[in-house]
């Protein structure tokens, strides 16, 4: 049975990749019109852009999970608060975009660290259920608080980015600069995070504390402080995701609902895998966009879960996950 699933899994991956590259090939052969190909590519790009946002939220969830084994159900709300903080600095206080964005991201990172210290830390060691309830509860509170803060409220807002209303033309394919900026920024951010985690003392300490907490204590690594900093990194990444989402969606108190796409992304990639979270987010974003364009209405919203179910059926550990083997 396992063999059959493994074979089917390979078949699925092959079919997906084939489906992905087929349109350009068909167009080159003259079987599909140029206009159709352009449509297809534009859907892929805008799907990838949204997928990047899913990926970054998923990444934050995975970082916290790997370190503390806490599943943060409020990661979407951290993104929402990050977006509102950026909105506050840029739109309300009128700071230059980049300065305001940096301040917003920094403020959100501090907020994430405070969340760990004040909200999550006191229940660590309690049953997993308690921690779940605490993060869920924090999400609810964050939403209601945001809706009563003057200038935030229940309205929708926008953050005007330097990229707004401009386009990038790659040949006949026209991409909005906002979409292009999201993809480029996500790639840069992933590169930066990679360098941070592999080449800095603090980054290595974060990995170490995530992999073996006790051994980290033996090395003199301040594990609790390191975990708090991971919450900070995670919330900072969430704020960046919120900032990216702002120009293509809106800033509003319910934007944390993105977690219903970020979770499938994280699970799809293999929960606990950082590359998995990124790939999972991209896959869900692209599938969603294509489903929205080519399939009847309604499919778009369930696309993420259909993909997730099919993948989990064939490969329960996710795309990049590995079956946990007990070490000798």
């Amino acid at each position: 049975m396992e063999r059959v699933f493994a074979a089917l899994w390979r078949l699925l991956v092959a079919a997906a990749l084939l489906g992905f590259v087929a349109p350009p090939v068909l167009a080159a052969l003259g079987l599909v019109s140029g206009a159709d190909l352009v449509n297809y590519l534009q859907q892929v790009v805008s799907g990838a852009a949204l997928g990047c946002v899913y990926a970054l939220v998923a990444l934050g969830i995975v970082l916290i999970y790997k370190a503390t084994e806490t599943i943060n159900f409020a990661q979407g709300e951290l993104m929402m608060l990050g977006a509102f903080l950026c909105f506050t600095f840029v739109a309300i206080l009128g700071l230059p975009f980049w300065a305001g964005a940096l301040l917003g991201i920094g403020a959100c990172a501090v907020l994430g660290m405070a969340t760990d210290r004040i909200v999550v830390r006191p229940v660590v060691g309690q049953p997993a259920f308690a921690i779940v309830m605490v993060t869920l509860g924090f999400g609810f509170v964050a939403r209601s608080l945001a809706s009563v803060i003057p200038g935030w409220g229940t309205d929708t807002h926008t953050i005007v980015t330097p990229f707004a209303n401009q386009i990038v033309a790659l040949g006949p394919v026209v991409i909005s600069q906002d979409h292009a900026a999201i993809i480029v920024a996500t790639a840069l951010l992933c590169g930066l995070l990679y360098l941070f985690f592999t080449h800095t003392k603090l980054g290595l300490a974060m990995q170490a504390a995530s992999q073996n907490q006790l051994a980290a204590y033996y090395m003199g690594i301040p594990v609790k402080t390191v975990f708090t900093m991971i919450w900070g990194v995670s919330a900072g990444v969430a704020a960046i995701a919120g900032l990216m989402l702002a120009p293509i969606a809106f800033v509003h108190t319910q934007m944390g609902m993105i977690i219903f796409k970020a979770f499938p992304a994280a699970v799809l990639g293999g929960f606990g895998s950082i590359p998995g979270a990124i790939v999972g987010g991209l896959v869900i974003g692209i599938v969603e966009a294509l489903a929205g364009f080519y399939l009847p209405e309604g499919f778009k919203d369930v696309a993420a879960y259909v993909v997730l179910l099919v993948v989990l059926l064939l490969k329960p550990e996710g795309i990049f996950g590995h079956v946990r083997k007990k070490k000798v």
């Binding site: 073996n212 006790l214 090395m219 003199g220």
Partner: protein, 264 residues
């Protein structure tokens, strides 16, 4: 054990009546021991005797309910583990506890986490590679992919990267082949002799431990029941019987076994 100040001259580590609990379970029941500077001291005991708990109490992972731990004449019980590492105590935990998804080199780097003297750290890395050439060969490999023996070497090397004055070793022989155990113990002896590192070695493998140690304690159910220079322990009939697996021949041995099932 005499309690005159002269008796402790030169002891880098002193435990006095240490009691450590796991919740209601008293795992260490009033242990006193001295580790003289520059020596190798071993604590022998069966599984569950409390050896690991003693080491955890010294390195600050656990706090004793009662008693005192003095390192270089300074009380360290209850201090933060990071502070104790900084003072010069490195702990090689039971079961190696390497960082499995980090490279060998990164594991070693983390051993020097609290140090900022890059030049000396680089020298110590060279030294560790000198003691364990196999680690240098595998520097780029993930620690989780190493064999048990190599992981033990890595755990030792990682602890050395903190440049400790006192090294705590928790059953380095656990799960290793006799040949590897010999190799590791030879290196332990070399580290002690060449670096002057004081070593507190906790073992079930009494035979090997007494061969490298200068002084030994025997621990039973959380209590020290016997102590003495290694040669004395090796020569002691009771130690041989209970910890070296060498049963006495004849009726005399059997009688003694019945009379003294437990020490004290």
């Amino acid at each position: 054990m005499t309690d005159t100040p002269e008796a402790h001259a030169g002891a880098i580590l002193r435990l006095r009546n240490v009691e450590t609990y796991y919740g209601p379970i008293r795992a260490v029941r009033g242990v006193s021991l001295d580790v003289r500077t520059g020596t190798i001291v071993t604590v022998l005991g069966a599984n569950g005797a409390g050896k690991t708990t003693i080491l955890k109490t010294i390195s600050g992972i656990m706090d004793p309910q009662k008693g005192a731990v003095h390192f270089r004449e300074r009380p360290i019980q209850g201090l933060d583990p990071a502070l104790i590492v900084k003072l010069g105590v490195s702990h090689v935990p039971e079961g190696r506890q390497v960082f499995p998804l980090l490279s060998v080199a990164d594991n070693l780097k983390l051993g020097a986490y609290l140090r900022s003297d890059a030049v000396h750290v680089a020298k110590d890395l060279a030294l560790v590679y000198d003691y364990f050439p196999r680690l240098q060969d595998r520097a780029g490999q993930l620690a989780g992919q190493l064999s048990g023996g190599e992981q033990q070497m890595l755990a030792l090397g990682r602890a050395l990267m903190a440049r400790p004055a006192l090294l705590l070793l928790d059953e380095p022989s656990l799960g290793l082949s006799p040949l590897l155990v010999k190799e590791i113990f030879a290196i332990i002896r070399r580290i002690n002799a060449e670096q002057g590192t004081t070593i507190l070695l906790v073992e079930q493998n009494a035979n090997m431990a007494l061969k490298v140690a200068h002084y030994g304690y025997v621990l039973e159910v959380g209590r020290i029941v016997f102590e003495g220079p290694s040669e004395e322990l090796l020569a002691n009939d009771d130690i041989r019987e209970f910890y070296l697996g060498q049963k006495q021949q004849g009726a005399r041995g059997r009688r003694r076994w019945k009379k003294r099932k437990v020490w004290r």
